[in-house]
Each structure stands twice: as structure tokens, then as C-alpha cells.
């Protein structure tokens, strides 16, 4: 089943021959300049008709003012200042993005502006149908008239909405920047700590060596130096932890206050047995199990006698306090 799925993906991605496509893309259809010969050639398009041509063609044709599109049969009059860089490979996508940008700058109401979801959905539907009409050149004049009418009657609300939207975008940018800063700081701190630790270790090594040269009691010196190093590093770690806490606390605080859970989250889904029916003692007399405690293979496998005792006890009491009649689903 999975192999047929992957075949499907593979075949769909090769519907157009890559060579042919790239060749077309790399030559200006007007002056036939090839990218091979002028590698810094750029293509521009005009939202009037979306026919693409290279930068030098645009300069050549439109420097002296508006002129018709050089594509045969197009005939649209283009202006130089409207030319722009093509962002998307697909011209249709480019066109739709432009139309969308224009329409949504005018039809910029939001869900909050409506009494209920139904009205909002109706509004969205209307906006989409306008975009669709512009996209497919249906009732062009009629729609354009509708848009300008709407713009005239709602001009105040439109500018207000646009302003608030811009402000929101700015806030978003700010927040993003803040998060970036926090992350950068954290990485720097960690690097610093790592470096300091390395230095400290090196220092400790040297200290041990120099002290050993003068004194006899090796073990004592080593343990002394080690203890002092440990003290220093653990203090550093604590510092880092506190810093991280304060750093991570700031962006999250605003986050959590905005939304609230309806029910408290419980990791065990409310199904955790905390009250055991038995009490586990420190040790039991069981030569058979105690014997396993010392075996290397058991230790290496994660075997612990407490767990075995715990299991035996738990199994002994399993099911006590369970009533089958209550758990049986109602037929």
C-alpha cells in the first residue's frame, strides 16, 4: 500500500519536463537575451497584463512614457512605474495575490465587526466572489463599480481598520524580535558557561599538579581542588538557571493570561492510583531474589529488587476494591 503511494507522488512531480521549463524561464521573450550570456538579467511584470520581460526591455520601451505591451495581441498600455519583480513562478498566483491585496485593503472587516458568525461568513463569501470575478474576468466593469461604491461609502471604517491592522502587525513584529533576542541571549549564556567550565577544569588540573609537586598527600589535594571547582560550577549553573527562568517567563506570561483552560489538565487523565493498598518495606527476606541483586547481568538490565517486591505485592492486591458489576458497560 505504501509503495503505491510513493509512486503516485513521484509521477506527479514530473509532469513538466524540468529542462524545457528552465529554458523558457531563462530567455527574455522580447529581446531574446539569454541568461547564459547575461547572468544578472531580471524579469519584471506589470499587473496590467502580467506579461514578463527583462529589465533592459522595460527601460528601452517605457523610458519615454506609457507605451503598449510588446506582446502580440495584448495591446494594453503599460507604465514603467507599475512594473515589479515577479515573486511567484506561476503568473496566475502572482495575479491572484495582487487582486487579493487590492480587494482586501478595501474589504477589511473582521469577525469582531459582525453580530454573528453567519453574517461574517456571508461577508467572506461576498469578498471571495468578487476576487473570483476579477480573477476570471467576469463582469469586470460591474464589479469594479461595486468596489469603488463600497470604498466611497465605507471610507472611514476602511482606514480605521487598516490602521488597527498595521498596529497589530507591528506588535507581532516586536514580539517576534523579542523572542529572537531571548533565544540569542540564552545561547550566548550557555556558550559562556561551557567555556568557563572548561577553563575552570584546566585550572584545577594545573593547581593539582603544582600542589602535588610540593606536598605528599595526593588524594587529599585532589579531593580538595575538586570540591572547590564543583562549588564554583554549581554556582554558575544556578545563575544560568535563574537567568533562563526570568528570560522565558516574560514572553510566556502574556500568553497564558489570554487563554484559559475549561478543565484542569491532568497528565494521567484522572486515572492515577496514588494510594497504594500495601506498604513496601525496606527489605524482605527472600534469598532467591536477594541472590539476583548481585548478578551483573541483572544489574545491567535495569533489574531492581524493590521493583520485584513492589510487583509481587501489587499483584497480590490487584483487583481489591474493584467491582465488576460497576465496571461492566450498561447493555
Amino acid at each position: 500500500m505504501s509503495s503505491s503511494g510513493s509512486n503516485l507522488v513521484a509521477s506527479s512531480s514530473f509532469t513538466t519536463f524540468p529542462d524545457e521549463q528552465s529554458q523558457k524561464q531563462d530567455m527574455c521573450p522580447i529581446c531574446k537575451t539569454d541568461r547564459y550570456l547575461s547572468p544578472d538579467m531580471r524579469f519584471l511584470i506589470n499587473p496590467e497584463c502580467y506579461h514578463k520581460m527583462c529589465e533592459s526591455c522595460v527601460d528601452r520601451i517605457y523610458s519615454l512614457g506609457p507605451a503598449p505591451c510588446p506582446y502580440p495581441g495584448c495591446g494594453k498600455t503599460l507604465r514603467k512605474n507599475k512594473f515589479k519583480l515577479q515573486v511567484f513562478d506561476d503568473v496566475l498566483v502572482e495575479k491572484e495575490i495582487d487582486i487579493r491585496g487590492r480587494v482586501l485593503a478595501i474589504y477589511n472587516k473582521r469577525e469582531l465587526d459582525f453580530a454573528d458568525l453567519q453574517h461574517f461568513n456571508a461577508y467572506l463569501e461576498e469578498v471571495e466572489s468578487i476576487i473570483d470575478k476579477l480573477m476570471n474576468n467576469v463582469d469586470l466593469e460591474e464589479t469594479e463599480r461595486m468596489i469603488s461604491e463600497y470604498k466611497a461609502t465605507n471610507s472611514k471604517a476602511i482606514s480605521q481598520n487598516n490602521q488597527s491592522r498595521e498596529k497589530e502587525f507591528e506588535d507581532f513584529k516586536k514580539r517576534e524580535q523579542m523572542e529572537k533576542d531571548v533565544k540569542l541571549k540564552k545561547v550566548q549564556l550557555e556558550k559562556q558557561i561551557e567555556e568557563e567550565e572548561r577553563e575552570l577544569n584546566e585550572m584545577a588540573r594545573k593547581e593539582i599538579l603544582s600542589k602535588l609537586a610540593t606536598s605528599q598527600d595526593a588524594n587529599q589535594i585532589i579531593s580538595q581542588v575538586k570540591a572547590s571547582v564543583l562549588k564554583k560550577t554549581s554556582a554558575r549553573r544556578r545563575q544560568l538557571k535563574e537567568m533562563m527562568k526570568s528570560l522565558s517567563a516574560s514572553p510566556q506570561a502574556s500568553d497564558e493570561s489570554s487563554k484559559k483552560r475549561t478543565t484542569p489538565f491532568t497528565p494521567f487523565n484522572g486515572d492515577r492510583v496514588t494510594k497504594k493498598t500495601y506498604h513496601l518495606k525496606e527489605s524482605y527476606y527472600d534469598p532467591f531474589i536477594e541472590d539476583l541483586r548481585g548478578r551483573k547481568e541483572y544489574i545491567a538490565s535495569g533489574f531492581k529488587t524493590e521493583i520485584v517486591y513492589e510487583r509481587i505485592l501489587s499483584e497480590a492486591f490487584l483487583g481489591l476494591g474493584c467491582f465488576i458489576d460497576r465496571e461492566r458497560p450498561v447493555a
Binding site: E190, R261, F268, L292, K296, S301, G302
Partner: protein, 308 residues
């Protein structure tokens, strides 16, 4: 008398069973019928069929597949009636059109751990946890399935087979052919699944059993006597390439979207030494589940985009 269940179409075939889609006649509830091929085995039923039946009968939990009924047909075939779960986690991971949010991953991991926790508190090892065996209900709930390799823990001197768990999800003590492993093997598998959910590709894909050892330790460091006492006494501990343990910043780079708490949990589950590996309770109490974002509500989890 009309039949209690109807079989409609065959949906899959395994080595020892055929799975049919069916309905409970009275309630029209969709069910899956797993028909065990009898007669193929000389000494009665296949072991995994018996295991599956034995343990599923004992376990009732929201995150474990429900065994509705068991019956035998006239030909002597054994039929397990299971709850019908149309998708599994592997399908979702492979479906590139679906994006996982951090909350989705948290929710799946949470449900997996809840299911495993229920098995372990009943002293049952699943021993075959992998995305393919984590089934998803139409309501988005994740359920452990395929208890064909499950067993309960019995006397500690009994030998366990080390040849369990699908290779990529096999814990290091199993790779070393330990015969006395514990619940920790399941938690290792959960850790690998967690990593896979974040990466969207298998985390430790060994080509064969030998390569698996290499891949595992390349990613997580070779265990030594220092961080795993007595590891060298395990049968298969020899000829190891020594890889250093990954540093925290290396892990951060590998798992870009992961928070610190998520990495803590993952490292706890992927702890080489089974004695220090986190158990289900510790994992469920991890800070990862408490921090924002909240785990996604099961109904809102991503579903398979379309059915073929």
C-alpha cells in the same frame, strides 16, 4: 437467529491473521474482525494470537484497543472482534501534506504514555511499540494495538527473549541481548517515537541488527561502564565503536522546534542505562505536558486527508 456480527470486506492480511471490516448487527457499530488462520500450525494456535487475546482481555483503557468479543467459526478458526480504528500514526507521519503542531505531538505522546502506563501498572510489557501499532480512532484518540508480542512479568529468574520490538525501536539492552529486561524497553520505544514525531523521519533507522547498534550509539553515544554499570557483562557487548554522547546544543540543533522540557523528556526516555530511564509516571509528570502549548484535544488532531 441473525448473526451477531457481519463481515464485509477484507482490509488487511498478516502472517497469522486476516483482518475484515464488519459491523455489530444490533448496534451497527463498525468493528474489525481478526480471523486467526488455524491449521497452519501443528501445535495449535499461533503464540501471538494467544498473547493478544490473553492481554487484551485484561486491559480496558481509553488508550488501548478494545477487544469486543472472541468467537470461533464453524471451520475452527478463531476470531477476535476488535474495535475498528481506521488510521495509524505511521500513516500520519508519512503524509507530507499534514503539518504537526507542537500541541499535536504532545497530545499523541500523552495518549501513548497513558496507554503504556496502564499496561505497566498491570505488569504487562507491550514489546512492540512503534507508530504503526499506535492506532487512531475517528475521534482522534490514540490507542495501543497489536499485543502479539506482549507478555506479563513473572518470576524474575525466568528468561525473556531479546528478539522483540521492531528493530528501529529496540532499546540498547535488547541490542545487547539481555534476557532480564524490564518495562524500560517500552519507554525507549516511546522515546524513539517522540523523536520521530518531531523529525517526521525515523530517528534510528538501522539496516540490520548490527547496523542498529551503530546507528543508535552514533546518535546517543556509546554506553560505558561509567554511565551504565555492568553493561560489559551483557552478552552482545563487544566490538563497539566508541561515539561521544551528544551535547545538549547538538540535540537542540537536531530537534529545532523542541523546547527544553521536551528535550528533557526525550533524553529521559532515551537514557541508555535502563536503570536510570524514566518510567511512565515520571514521564507523565514531566514539565513538558504542563508547559504551553496545551496538548491538542483529540477531536482537533490532524486526520488523514483522504481515503483511497
Amino acid at each position: 437467529m441473525p448473526p451477531l456480527y457481519t463481515k464485509s470486506k477484507k482490509v488487511g492480511e498478516g502472517t497469522y491473521a486476516v483482518v475484515y471490516l464488519g459491523h455489530h448487527t444490533a448496534t451497527q457499530r463498525p468493528i474489525a474482525i481478526k480471523e486467526i488462520k488455524a491449521g497452519q500450525f501443528k501445535d495449535g494456535l499461533d503464540m501471538s494470537a494467544i498473547r493478544e487475546m490473553k492481554y487484551l482481555q485484561e486491559l480496558r483503557h481509553l488508550n488501548i484497543i478494545e477487544l469486543v468479543d472472541v468467537f470461533s467459526s464453524q471451520e475452527g478458526d478463531l476470531n477476535l472482534v476488535l474495535e475498528y480504528l481506521p488510521a495509524d500514526l505511521e500513516m500520519l507521519i508519512k503524509d507530507r501534506s499534514i503539518l504537526f503542531s507542537p500541541g499535536d505531538i504532545k497530545s499523541w505522546l500523552l495518549m501513548t504514555l497513558r496507554g503504556v502506563h496502564h499496561c505497566h501498572r498491570n505488569h504487562i510489557l507491550h514489546r512492540d511499540l512503534k507508530p504503526n501499532n499506535l492506532l487512531l480512532s475517528p475521534q482522534g484518540e490514540l490507542k495501543l494495538a497489536d499485543f502479539g508480542l506482549a507478555r506479563s512479568l513473572t518470576s524474575p529468574n525466568e528468561l525473556l527473549t531479546h528478539n522483540v520490538v521492531t528493530r528501529w525501536y529496540r532499546a540498547p539492552e535488547l541490542l545487547f541481548e539481555s534476557r532480564h529486561y524490564t518495562e524500560a524497553v517500552d519507554l525507549w520505544a516511546v522515546g524513539v517515537i517522540f523523536a520521530e514525531l518531531m523529525l517526521r523521519v525515523p530517528y534510528l533507522p538501522g539496516r540490520d541488527d548490527l547496523d542498529q547498534i551503530d546507528v543508535t550509539f552514533q546518535a546517543l553515544g556509546t554506553p560505558t561502564e561509567e554511565n551504565w554499570s555492568n553493561v560489559s557483562s551483557l552478552p552482545n557487548y563487544n566490538d563497539l565503536k566508541i561515539y561521544p554522547e551528544p551535547t545538549r546544543s547538538e540535540l537542540r540543533k537536531r530537534f529545532i522546534g523542541a523546547t527544553e522540557a521536551a528535550l528533557d523528556l526525550m533524553c529521559g526516555l532515551l537514557c541508555l542505562n535502563p536503570a536510570n530511564r524514566w518510567d511512565t509516571e515520571r514521564a507523565l509528570l514531566s514539565g513538558y505536558f504542563k508547559e504551553s502549548p496545551d496538548p491538542t484535544v483529540p477531536v482537533d488532531l490532524p486526520k488523514l486527508s483522504k481515503k483511497e
